[in-house]
């Protein structure tokens, strides 16, 4: 069986794979990083979004072999080692940006990709960027609010103006 090695959350990672092993399977099953979720497994829901060489991708629609030598970042690498949440994660907590939480890893990784390219997005830009991330609790308003808050913008006018306590 072929080997693959890559850098995951700043650490060297390697393992045996098959040609058909998906990146998400390698992350979850070989590396035990189960924070990246598989929602639909048909490239639609975005629960499996991770960053490969800094770009958001759906890890259910990329083979592990294609990530050989790449730098991969997952939800596990977002908080500080002592557990302190990063700005986006903290904003999701503050603004109740999750209900069941299943889509959250993908939402946070997509949000982080967006804010890296566009540090002060408009509400419309946030909603457009999240086209490939589905929340089946339909909690979109608070997700959008959390991302705008994480970008340091006033969110009092978003979706009815309910502010965080």
């Amino acid at each position: 069986m072929p080997h693959v090695s890559m850098t995951v959350n700043g650490q060297a990672a390697k393992g045996e794979i098959e040609g058909r092993t998906l990146l998400v399977e390698f992350l979850r099953e070989t590396l035990g990083l189960t924070g990246t979720h598989v929602g639909c497994d048909t490239s639609q829901c975005g629960a499996c979004v991770v960053h490969v060489d800094g770009k958001a991708v759906k890890s259910c629609t990329m083979f592990a072999a294609e990530a050989a030598g790449a730098t991969v970042d997952t939800i596990e690498g977002q908080a500080a080692p002592d557990g302190t949440l990063n700005t986006i994660q903290q904003a999701f907590q503050d603004y109740h940006g999750l209900q069941c939480g299943f889509c959250t890893p993908g939402m946070v990784m997509s949000a982080s990709a967006l804010l890296k390219d566009n540090p002060k997005p408009t509400e419309a830009e946030v909603r457009s960027y999240l086209q490939g991330n589905i929340c089946r609790c339909t909690g979109y308003h608070n997700i959008v609010k959390a991302i705008l808050a994480a970008s340091g913008q006033d969110v009092s006018g978003i979706a009815g103006g309910i502010a965080a306590e």
């Binding site: 072929p2 958001a56 083979f63």
Partner: protein, 262 residues
């Protein structure tokens, strides 16, 4: 998925050699092929990944002023980097979603020729030249019907060359679940004439709406399209829209593209 091997060549020559193996198939960004493999609708023994070939990635302008895009260039890279060709950047920015655009490639989309895909409309609407490892093929000859192209088995789309128009736009009526085009129009105005390509509508795949091209060539404005329509005969009918509905959308989306052209 059935089992297969993956090869990751770094040059076109290595890729061609790998593709000469039994039941080998090229893999672009995989945004169509991987879901197809998951459904066991394809059974290659070897997948030859083309995304590691550096020479097939990127956007540049050649000596003749053509915009040259490498076959392995992603939709996202075109959306961000084709600023001298507004319609092309507009088209690439509307494919799928951001994560899909970070993986899906121009070459993969052109080779697949999905009847509802965006890239075939751009290539045909711009009169692009498709460059493979063996030859150059005019877009007018390349697309040969639903999921069918002039590409031979094992032939790799290394590049496409786009003449840059004076004005262009892409207007897409999205099928909201898949984000493929229910119907979309690519309009490009050149000094020598106007080209209009329609995707998502016809059972024969992407096509040029020549009547609209002639009318817009005389007078490039939405009014030129008054009274023009395509027949529902041969249009796609499915749960998302009847042939009559799609025929109607052809006119609507072409008009919107003309209005948006810059």
């Amino acid at each position: 998925m059935y089992a297969f091997e993956i090869e990751r060549p770094e040059t076109v020559e290595e890729a061609i050699k790998a593709l000469s193996r039994d039941e080998a198939q090229p893999l672009g960004g995989g945004q169509t092929l991987i879901p197809t493999l998951k459904q066991r609708l394809a059974m290659p023994s070897v997948l030859v990944s083309l995304t590691g070939i550096a020479a097939m990635r990127g956007i540049c302008t050649d000596d003749a002023g053509l915009l040259c895009i490498g076959g392995g260039t992603t939709h996202g890279e075109v959306a961000a980097g084709a600023d001298k060709f507004a319609g092309l950047a507009m088209m690439a920015a509307k494919i799928g979603d951001p994560a899909v655009r970070n993986r899906g490639t121009m070459g993969g989309s052109l080779a697949n020729n999905d009847p509802s895909a965006c890239w075939p409309a751009a290539a045909l609407g711009a009169g692009a030249t498709i460059v493979t490892d063996k030859r150059e093929i005019a877009a007018d000859d390349f697309f040969q019907g639903m999921f069918d192209t002039a590409r031979d088995e094992g032939e790799i789309i290394t590049e496409a060359k786009f003449p840059v128009p004076e004005k262009s736009a892409y207007a897409k009526f999205e099928q909201p679940a898949s984000r493929f085009a229910l119907v979309a129009a690519f309009v490009a105005k050149y000094s020598g004439g106007v080209r209009v390509a329609i995707t998502g509508a016809s059972e024969s795949g992407v096509f040029r709406w020549t009547e609209a091209e002639e009318a817009l060539g005389r007078d490039f404005g939405p009014g030129a399209l008054d009274g023009l329509h395509v027949e529902p005969d041969g249009m796609i009918g499915d749960l998302h829209g009847t042939p009559e509905y799609r025929a109607h959308l052809v006119g609507v989306m072409t008009r919107r593209a003309v209005e948006a052209a810059r």
